[in-house]
Each structure stands twice: as C-alpha cells, then as structure tokens.
Amino acid sequence: MAQRMITVDITSKRFGETPVLGPLSFTIAPGETLALVGPSGIGKSTLLRILAGIDPAFEGTVTRPEALAFVFQEPTLLPWRTVLQNLLLPHPDLSVDAAQSALAGVGLTGKDTLFPGQLSLGQQRRLSLARAFAAAPELLIMDEPFVSLDPETAQSMFQLTERLIAQHRPATLFVTHDMREADRLADRVLTLQVSDRGAVLG
C-alpha cells in the first residue's frame, strides 16, 4: 500500500465573524511525527478537527488517508459497551483474536468483559489508544493525550504511545504543551501563533 503525503492547506477558518485560523499549510510525510504547540485557545484542536475531517466548514483543502485514528483529550469510549466491544464496534473487520492482542498490547489483558466505567482513567486512556491503533491507521491525530493524568500514569502512557508509534509508523500529528514531550516524540514541531487573520504557523 503506497502511502501518500498528507497535505493541509487552509486559507481561513472562522467561527462566525471571528477568524480562528489564518492562511497556513504544512505536510506530513508517511511515518513522520509532528508536534503541534501553541498557547491555549489558539485553535490547535480546531486544526486537528479540520485535519480529521470532522469540521468541514473551512476554506482550503486537506488531503488525508481513509484510514485515520483520533485520540481525544477524553477517552471518548462507549460506556454502555464492554471493553472488547469498544474495540470491535469502530473496527468491524477486526477479529476477536486481533482485538484481544491489541488489548494485551496496552496492558488490558483480561479486562475485555468489563465496562469502561470499571476501568481507571489511565486504563480508559490506554483502551482509547488501543482503539486508535487497532486498524493500523495511516494518519494518527492526538489531542493532548497525556494531560490530566498523574505523573506516573502520564509517563507510562507516553512510553506506550512511543512504542506503538514506532511499531505501526503512522503519520502522526499531536498537540502538546510540553516541549520535552514534543522533542522526544516528534520529528518536527509546528508552532501556532497569533496573527490578525487568525492563528498561523510560526
């Protein structure tokens, strides 16, 4: 499967009259990992949603692969479905065996029949990571995947993410506030900064 370059070319994105994103463009090569940094509220999450295709209301063009995965700030699991179903429902082609080994890969062996509410927050985050990697995405988008965790859990989540990225090599864009995270995980760092036409790349 020949993987193509992911290109983002945004002319403008507004919420009503307020410009959020100004003209900005960048590319992500297959297997490349990019960190996105910038002050709170500048539009990092908006940029991720445009890249993911869940916010189509912008001017510009984005080319992205079909197979993409998104790790939200919150685990965003289906609380009324079991751990195993949370993997299988978004990926109907996944076999139960593959799902079980994906769970084992994030340290959730034996938790498959539990409901997400019975897991700790750290375990829920790991399940959401397993869900993201389960279908071998070509593009992985993560919105502050390590925030609001205690330092120890954050550290183990970070190492797990690092390992999974090295294993699957998706093109990756992730938002972070921590420059050490950005330096360790990313090949390049994109910085969003304020301009009068909305946020642009610095």
Binding site: A52, L68, T76, L78, R81, P90, L114
Partner: protein, 249 residues
C-alpha cells in the same frame, strides 16, 4: 421486608379501607359496592369469556398505538433535536398538537376516517406522538458531540451508530416517554372505545354506564389496571433494568 418496602402495601391497604368505609356509609351497592361485592360479577364476566374478549381488544389497540406513537415520536424527536432548521419548522406544529384536546382529535378522526379500527388507533397515536417527540428531542439535544465525532472518524455505519452510539444515550429518555406513554395511551384508548367502538373496556364501561351498573364499571376498570400493572412489572421494568446494566456494573 423492611419499612420502605412495606410502605406502598400499607398505603394501598389504607386506600382499600377508605373504600370499605365509604361503601358502608353509602350503604347502597348500586352507587358504591364494597370490594367483596365485585367478586360475583367478576367471576361471571370471566366465566362467560366477555371479560377476556374485551381486555384483549383493548390491549391490542394499546399495543398498536404505543408502537406507532413511540416509533413516530422517536424519529421526529431525533430529527428535531439534531437539526435546528427542521425544529424551527416543526416546533409550532408540535405546540398545536400538544395543546389540542384528545377529545377533539378523536372526534375528528372518527368524522374524517369513519368509525373504524384505523381511525381509533390513528386518534390515539396522534394524541401521544407530540409528547414522545418532545421528550426524545431533549435527549437528542443532549447527545455527546465527542462520541459523534468518534463514530464519524472511525466511519461507523449508520445502523451501528444508531444502535451503539445514539440509542444508548437516548435510552433514559425513551424509557421516560414509554413509561408515561403507556399510562396516557390506555386512558385515551378507553375514551376512543367509549365513543366509537363495539369492543374493548371502554365500550363495556359505556354499556354499564347506560345501565347504571357501577359494579361492572369497576370490574372492567380494575381488570385493565391489573393488566397494565403486569405489563409494567413483567415487560417495562425488566427492559429498563437491562438497558441500565452497564451503569450498575
């Protein structure tokens, strides 16, 4: 059995005692028979098969109207809750139908469609659809946009999204609409039968109203209340418990 479980039993016993006292004070079985005076007419109606025939007729109408009203109301509620434009168009209609007296809808359905089964069920359904739609609309407005985004990113199919993402979020609202729905629907079905059907509990109550037979009116009313209590305990509550299993796990 602890005090809190005993309370409803005591409360119902109190109501029964009140009835007995009232019957004694009235001292006229023609106006208010005492509870045990209903036994003979009940046995007679049961033995003749009349009671079961009319109970069945009413129950079938309740089931039809309930299924139709829940389906239409849920679809309407989801569409209105998800699309502000559709809501702006349909909301005034909803207000009109919510405030239209049940009796008006019933009479109009009989006048326009005729004294038929279809008219009866249509009338009951139209009476209930707006209530269901209003409740489900609230649920649809409260849907989690992040779960929606997740379902779109992982390209979950329409059916899977409805079944595993949308519907579980709407379940408490559907349960609320169903609970109040059953109660309202069977009361309206009785009115519909009273006015224009030749079977059902409402028809029998009409008949015994004209004969001034209070005992028979009570026999038919209590029989159907019993059936609806059984529906509540044997169907609705187990379904609700199943839908809530993940919360208590």
């Amino acid at each position: 059995m602890n005090a809190s479980r005993l309370t409803p039993v005591l409360s119902l016993a109190g109501l029964l005692a009140l009835w007995v006292v009232a019957a004694m004070l009235t001292a006229d079985a023609q106006i208010l028979p005492s509870p045990w005076q209903l036994g003979a007419p009940f046995a007679q109606e049961l033995a003749s098969g009349e009671l079961l025939h009319h109970l069945g007729a009413t129950l079938v109408r309740v089931i039809w109207a309930f299924a139709l009203a829940m389906t239409l109301g849920t679809v309407l509620g989801i569409v209105m809750g998800r699309s502000a434009a559709t809501n702006a168009w349909l909301d005034p209609w909803l207000v009109v139908f919510l405030n239209l007296p049940a009796l008006v809808l019933i009479v109009l359905c009989y006048l326009w469609i005729g004294l038929t089964e279809a008219a009866a069920i249509t009338a009951v359904t139209l009476n209930k659809v707006p209530n269901v739609a209003v409740v489900i609309r609230e649920g649809a407005r409260a849907l989690d946009p992040e779960l929606d985004a997740m379902a779109r990113i992982y390209r979950m199919g329409w059916m899977a999204r409805m079944r595993h993402v949308i519907f579980p979020q709407l379940a408490p609202f559907v349960a609320a609409a169903a609970r109040s729905g059953v109660a309202v629907i069977w009361k309206i079905v009785l009115v519909v039968e009273f006015l224009g059907r030749s079977s059902g509990i409402g028809f029998q109550i009409h008949l015994y109203f004209q004969l001034f037979d209070v005992a028979m009116v009570l026999v038919y009313a209590f029989s159907f209340i019993t059936v609806m209590l059984l529906v509540e305990w044997l169907v609705l509550q187990p379904l609700e418990r199943r839908a809530r299993r993940w919360r208590s796990a």
